[in-house]
């Protein structure tokens, strides 16, 4: 039993880090530019499609991931310079709508280029099976995701907390005017951060492709989860995004694993079997609502 | 020292800290009904923080505030206004996209307690002649009658400061908290504002935060000095002028 819980906790950690890959870029863009970018999910989709295409053409997953990150970052720069820049000064509603429009456009463009069918993107053979850790088998590819997620978390921590660029970024997140007054080229900084966020996004898309379906609309379903994560964590805070994703990952996974069994102990099997999955599927939203009720600015508000 | 007087506002040992930094540290202050009480102090002494705490914009971390016999703890901002505690803002805070008249009417309306009060959904506001009439009267008081139909955002700085005062006044306060009403004004505008405050002082108790020492000493019946989050002295202008500690801590480098 303990081992089962342990394994489920590992699943939760893995799902959380998976979300973190996407949430990190989102929270950066959000925190620094005060910009709600729904098209983040589209960048994730583009990343996954590029990775699938290049992996199939070149036969190398790593090449696929690399090209996807680069390609998506370039696309992001173009997008930022041409369009998003005009939106920074606008209110959230305008940003939501403009980037919602980008989702529609991106989905159709992908459909035109790649068709409506789902694309194939598989893990390299070496990572396609499970490995034994302790008393149980665990998919090696999921371990890789845990590794990459932890690596990115560490990298971001060093980058944001220890480097000069990170200092600017933090300054930009807490007080944009002041940063500008210090003579930092905020425009360039924003473009760079946006491209970086997009590359992270593409990394997430490419890394998750082998576990999830690479298809049109894949961005929207995970985007909402990513938003839940950064809102729980506090917008603009990398630490918040990490804590938020782990919290969401654990609560969602453990809820799905435990809730039906727990309810069965309390109610009749019929009630439990209909109530359990229903409750489990709304658990993270309940979590978010509860956290926002007690902490209306999330767990780690970036702008104190 | 203020026993036996008719206290309108009694601030007892209020503290407020942000993280580890104390903006207010056991600050005490009392305002007597009918007076103009000035609060002075160097930059960063905690004057605006005190105004925020009094008006309910910020919760305090300790101490008590009693206003007109009511303990203000946990009362939201709007209830304090209803009790008769109104404020103006240091940085002009008006409805720039409304007309001047609408600004004041909005403030007058907050007091209306007739049928449905502000939860009246149907009757066009334009027929609320009582409110509109009162708003015009208030505008006349602050000499903005000619501007009634201009957008508030188009007024000059001095006019906006006057409007700011009119908004606070429109709630019919017992105590008016004026946070640096003369901030950013030229000498002429300041002079007009001093005249306005003198005029208002006949109707309402005023707690005035101000940097302009000439104005303060002209207007105030009593003065409190806030330094480092603590009130170090309270008394008549003459007493404050003569207070050695005040001179050392604050006035020394400005007046002497």
């Amino acid at each position: 039993m303990t081992q089962l819980i342990l394994e489920q906790a590992l699943n939760g950690l893995q799902f959380g880090l998976m979300l973190f890959l996407l949430a990190a870029g989102l929270t950066l863009v959000f925190g620094i530019m005060d910009m709600i970018n729904l098209a983040h999910g589209s960048l994730y989709m583009v990343g996954a499609y590029l990775a699938a295409e290049v992996t199939q053409a070149s036969g190398s997953f790593i090449t696929g991931v690399g090209v996807a990150m680069l390609g998506t970052a370039v696309l992001a720069v173009v997008l930022e310079v041409v369009l998003l820049r005009r939106l920074y000064a606008r209110n959230h509603l305008a940003q939501v709508l403009a980037t919602f429009a980008l989702i529609l456009i991106a989905n159709e463009c992908v459909r035109i280029v790649w068709g409506a069918q789902t694309l194939m993107l598989n893990a390299p053979d070496a990572l396609s099976g499970p490995v034994r850790i302790g008393g149980f088998l665990y998919p090696s590819y999921r371990l890789l995701i845990i590794g990459v997620g932890a690596l990115i978390a560490g990298l971001l921590y060093v980058l944001v907390a220890r480097t000069r660029i990170g200092m600017w970024v933090r300054a930009g997140a807490s007080n944009r005017e002041m940063t500008e007054a210090l003579g930092i080229n905020v425009r360039l900084l924003f473009t760079a951060v946006f491209a970086f966020g997009a590359a992270l996004c593409a990394l997430a898309g490419a890394m998750l492709g082998p576990l999830l379906a690479v298809q049109v609309g894949m961005g929207e379903s995970i985007l909402i989860l990513a938003f839940v994560v950064i809102v729980i964590g506090g917008i603009g805070s990398i630490r918040g995004a990490l804590v938020g994703s782990l919290l969401v990952g654990l609560v969602d996974t453990l809820g799905r694993a435990m809730l039906p069994a727990m309810l069965r102990a309390l109610f009749s099997p019929e009630v439990a079997s209909s109530l359990g999955p229903a409750l489990a599927s709304v658990l993270i939203y309940v979590l978010m609502a509860a956290i926002l009720f007690w902490r209306p600015e999330g767990l780690f508000p970036a702008r104190a | 020292m203020s026993e036996g007087l008719d206290l309108l506002l009694d601030v007892r040992g209020v503290s407020k800290h942000f993280g580890g930094v104390y903006a207010l540290n056991n600050a005490s202050l009392s305002v007597v009904r009918g007076e103009v009480h000035a609060l002075i102090g160097p930059n960063g002494a905690g004057k605006t923080t005190l105004i925020h705490v009094l008006s309910g914009a910020l919760p305090c971390n300790g101490g008590r505030v009693v206003f007109d016999g009511n303990d203000l703890e946990r009362r939201p901002m709007h209830e304090r206004v209803t009790l008769g505690l109104a404020r103006s803002y240091q940085i002009t805070n008006i409805f720039t996209r409304l007309t001047v008249l609408d600004n004041v009417a909005m403030a007058v309306q907050s007091r209306v307690r007739d049928w449905g009060s502000s939860f009246s959904f149907w009757k066009p506001f334009s027929l609320d002649s009582a409110i509109i009439g009162e708003a015009h009267a208030l505008l006349a008081q602050v000499s903005l009658s000619g501007m009634a139909n201009r957008l508030a955002g188009q007024l000059s700085h001095g006019e906006q400061r006057s409007l700011e005062v009119a908004l606070a006044l429109a709630t019919k306060p017992k105590l008016l908290l004026l946070d640096e009403p003369m901030a950013g004004m030229g000498p002429e505008e300041s002079e007009r504002m001093v005249g306005l405050i003198e005029h208002l002082a006949q109707q309402v108790t005023i707690l005035l935060v101000e940097h302009d020492m000439d104005a303060v000493f002209r207007l105030a019946d009593r003065i409190s000095v806030l330094v480092g989050g603590t009130v170090i002295a309270s008394g008549s202008p003459e007493a404050i002028r003569g207070d050695a500690e005040v001179r050392r801590a604050y006035l020394g480098d400005e007046v002497a």
Binding site: I36, L97, F100, Y285, A289, P296 | S110, W122
Partner: protein
């Protein structure tokens, strides 16, 4: 020109549009295109839903991303009542409005503690909860939705007749718009619009801002419930799709296109969006690109919406 303006000229224009809409069923019958009467009912219902959201976002300044919950609640209420034998519109429609209002009070009471993006997300969270709960409920048809086998009974009027139904919808919409116009110029309307402009100052003037926002939010929810009740009647189905977050998004799109905070913004947006959709669909299967570009253009070049372009917006600075 102030903040809350609807000029007499605009009201006269509205009367003419109304007359045109009243004539529409006869016109369509004349050219043998009765189908468009039913299409028009749908457009008007969406216009009502969008208008209800405009009250919340445009007038109250609360960017709610969960409005579909109230829209869907109204639809399900009518369908559930119909299943248990209550088919009278006089009972079912007010009930739908009431249920949506109660739901909105609950959601609003919690959500309005937050601001900005947090508010957007917490309203979305509540809508998602409602969506998943309804989809998993077999008694309410799950993802099949709950069919409404016949339209509600509305006195002696036969709502099965498309034209009759259209007139009822039109009458309700016209009344709601008239009501919204009245509200916009009432004391309450002025208060919520001023809260949108400067919330802190309103609190400092002694207004219980939270209560005003909650009332406005719930009123919007109630009207959305009414729209939902009509939608269930029009489609013959309470579909979980009405509760989906995309529905909230579409309603938002409508008011942004039409004009945020203008009385007719929701109507203009709904008409424009649905008619464009209808037209684009015939041109290309990739019509969503067209929709996306239209939306981008509006956001970038017509921030006050189409209504704003023609000076029907809330202000002209």
């Amino acid at each position: 020109m102030g903040l809350y303006a609807t000029t007499t000229r605009r009201r006269i224009a509205a009367v003419f549009v109304l007359l045109g809409l009243i004539a529409l069923p006869w016109g369509m019958r004349l050219i043998g295109q009765e189908f468009y009467v039913s299409f028009a009912s749908r457009v008007l219902i969406m216009a009502l839903a969008a208008t209800s959201l405009n009250l919340v976002i445009g007038f109250g300044g609360m960017v709610s991303f969960g409005h579909a919950a109230f829209f869907g609640a109204g639809a399900y209420c009518v369908a559930v009542l119909a299943e248990s034998g209550v088919t009278s519109a006089w009972l079912a429609w007010p009930a739908a409005t009431g249920v949506a209002a109660v739901l909105a009070v609950l959601v609003g009471a919690i959500s309005l503690r937050t601001r900005g993006v947090y508010f957007i997300m917490i309203t979305l969270a509540f809508a998602q909860m409602v969506f998943y709960l309804v989809v998993s409920l077999k008694t309410w048809g799950g993802d099949d939705g709950l069919p409404l086998l016949q339209r509600s009974a509305f006195g002696s009027l036969d709502l099965k007749d498309d034209s009759t139904f259209y007139f009822v919808v039109l009458a309700i919409l016209a009344f709601v718009l008239f009501m919204l116009d009245r509200i916009a110029h009432s004391r309450f309307g002025r208060v919520i619009q001023s809260i949108r402009e400067n919330e802190v100052r309103m609190e400092a003037l002694g207004y219980p801002v939270f209560s005003f926002k909650l009332v406005c939010f719930s009123l919007g929810g109630a009207l959305a419930g009414l729209a939902g009740a009509l939608m269930a009647n029009q489609a013959g189905l309470a579909s979980p799709n009405l509760l989906h977050w995309m529905q909230s998004g579409i309603l938002m799109v409508m008011i942004v296109i039409g004009g945020v905070g203008s009385v007719f913004g929701g109507v203009v947006g709904a008409v424009l969006l649905l008619v464009c959709e209808e037209a684009f669909v015939e041109i290309t299967p990739h019509w969503q690109i067209g929709l996306g570009l239209l939306l981008l253009a509006v956001v970038l070049w017509a921030p006050l919406g189409i209504a704003g372009l023609f000076g029907w917006g809330r202000n002209r600075e």
